[in-house]
């Protein structure tokens, strides 16, 4: 059984069909990269899976359990959506850190709020908070920011901010971590530090879906590569199959163009 199964997702904005029929599945510990030209619907796909957009049709299954069904009569309640979102983590292109909190507070905020729903929260508040802080510190250490924990986002470089946002997403133990072009808002000399963190996570078997334009990075880190064009999955295979041996005209044109730049 796949950890994540996305079936026939469709999404239109007004008359524009952005996702025409997107399906893929992902095994535990797999890393999948999504490539595709600008406007092909990559961001929209991640947003639909993370319930930031309401897909028009299709299904999303986590560990075989259906968490979204576009054909269902009843819309999901806010509570159900919230529970579903906790299966996943999303790292944004523009970080979206909370400016009024330190790096550490950015990482602990959501877990602390979530802990309030635990039945033993009242009795064990102190232990729970201590545990959350420990975990957050460990995560920040893992992304190389032990000495920056108490800095505010405005005091951090773009690369450091993005690493905090990765730690923040990991703090809730998502089953799948999604990245939407995590390096494209960064100066070229800072992309390396983010890619390194992601490679590290891949080695520790974190299940990830990465939208990226860094082909060589995708080749190195991914078990699978999906190529999207005009709202459909054109190709889905190993890096070698998609990047080197593709027979598809669209894929080859896309790769050709990237090589020229």
């Amino acid at each position: 059984m796949s950890m994540l199964e996305v079936k026939n997702i469709t999404k239109s904005f007004g008359k524009v069909e952005v996702l025409k029929d997107v399906s893929f599945s992902l095994e535990q510990g797999q890393v999948m990269s999504i490539l595709g030209s600008s406007g092909s619907g990559k961001t929209t796909l991640l947003r639909c899976i993370n319930f930031l957009e309401d897909a028009d049709g299709g299904q999303i299954l986590v560990d075989g359990e259906c968490i979204f069904d576009g054909s269902a009569e009843k819309k999901l309640t806010a509570k159900e959506i919230r529970a579903n979102q906790l299966h996943f983590g999303l790292v944004f292109q523009s970080f979206n850190l909370f400016p009024q909190y330190t790096a550490l507070e950015n990482v602990t905020l959501a877990p602390k709020l979530l802990a309030k729903e635990r039945p033993d929260y009242k009795e064990k508040k102190k232990e729970i908070h201590a545990e959350i802080e420990e975990n957050a510190k460990a995560l920040l250490a893992r992304v190389g920011l032990s000495d920056r924990m108490n800095n505010y986002p405005c005091q951090l470089s773009g690369g450091q901010q993005q690493r905090v946002s990765i730690a923040r997403a990991l703090a809730l133990n998502p089953k799948v971590l999604f990245f939407d072009e995590p390096t494209s808002a960064l100066d070229p000399e800072l992309t390396g530090e983010i890619l390194k963190v992601i490679r590290d996570l891949a080695q520790k078997d974190v299940t990830m879906v990465i939208v990226t334009h860094e082909i060589e990075f995708a080749r190195g880190v991914s078990d699978r590569i999906v190529f999207m064009a005009d709202g459909v999955v054109v190709e889905d295979g190993t890096p070698e199959e998609v990047l080197d041996k593709s027979k598809n005209a669209k894929t080859r044109a896309f790769l050709q163009k990237l090589n020229e730049n």
Partner: protein, 214 residues
């Protein structure tokens, strides 16, 4: 009338000035937030209704609103239902809540969508996103326009004398009956001190929130 007697009378008037000021702030600050939510409601008829209300309140002179609130209910019911003081406070609260609501709305709408989305994908509820993420940022953004409004409020309290409430200006005006004009000019000292304190307070708040930037 010597200087101290005048000062004491003016201080008595200042008490009403301060009371109107404080009550207006305490009540209009939260009410303004509720009105701003209404004006941003997804249910459009409600949003338009609230915006029309805000337009009327901001479009009619406060002095007129005070008069209407005090005299009109009494006119229809045969007897006044509010005391002079509560009519004045009610008029001020409604008027300032409407001004505040527009400042809040501007502040709330200026927070990038990504802040809400980041909170949402971390499993926070709408309420948590608003109070834990958005509100603090809104406060920082609206501090300057709010300080303007609050300072204007200090001086607007003088409108309470329209329906015979003895606030600072009216207390001074009472001396004019005895041919004393200088107490009226003397009130400026009180206003200046009041506004001076507020200015310092806002400067302090601004500094407190200066620990982060966007």
């Amino acid at each position: 009338m010597d200087f101290w007697n005048v000062t004491l009378s003016l201080l008595a008037g200042l008490e009403n000035t301060c009371l109107i000021f404080a009550l207006t702030l305490v009540l209009a600050l939260p009410l303004g937030l509720i009105i701003s939510f209404g004006s941003m409601a997804k249910f459009k008829p409600l949003a338009y209704l609230i915006r029309t209300f805000v337009w009327i309140i901001r479009g009619v002179p406060l002095m007129l609103q005070i008069i209407i609130l005090f005299y009109v209910p009494g006119f229809f019911l045969g007897q006044p239902i509010f005391t002079r003081f509560s009519s004045v406070v009610a008029a001020f609260v409604i008027n300032y809540a409407c001004y505040f609501s527009e400042i809040y709305r501007g502040g709330i709408e200026s927070i990038p969508k990504g802040q809400y989305e980041a909170g949402q994908v971390l499993g926070m509820t709408k309420t948590q996103v608003f109070f834990k993420i958005v509100l603090m940022q809104v406060v920082k953004r609206i501090l300057a326009p709010m300080s303007n409004e609050v300072i204007t409020l200090v001086k607007d309290t003088a409108l309470a004398r329209t329906i015979m409430i003895v606030e600072l200006i009216q207390a001074a005006q009472n001396f004019a009956g005895y041919g004393l004009m200088w107490p009226l000019f003397y009130t400026a000292v009180f206003y200046l001190a009041f506004v001076g304190i507020l200015t310092l307070l806002f400067a302090y708040l601004e500094k407190k929130l200066d620990y982060y930037r966007w």
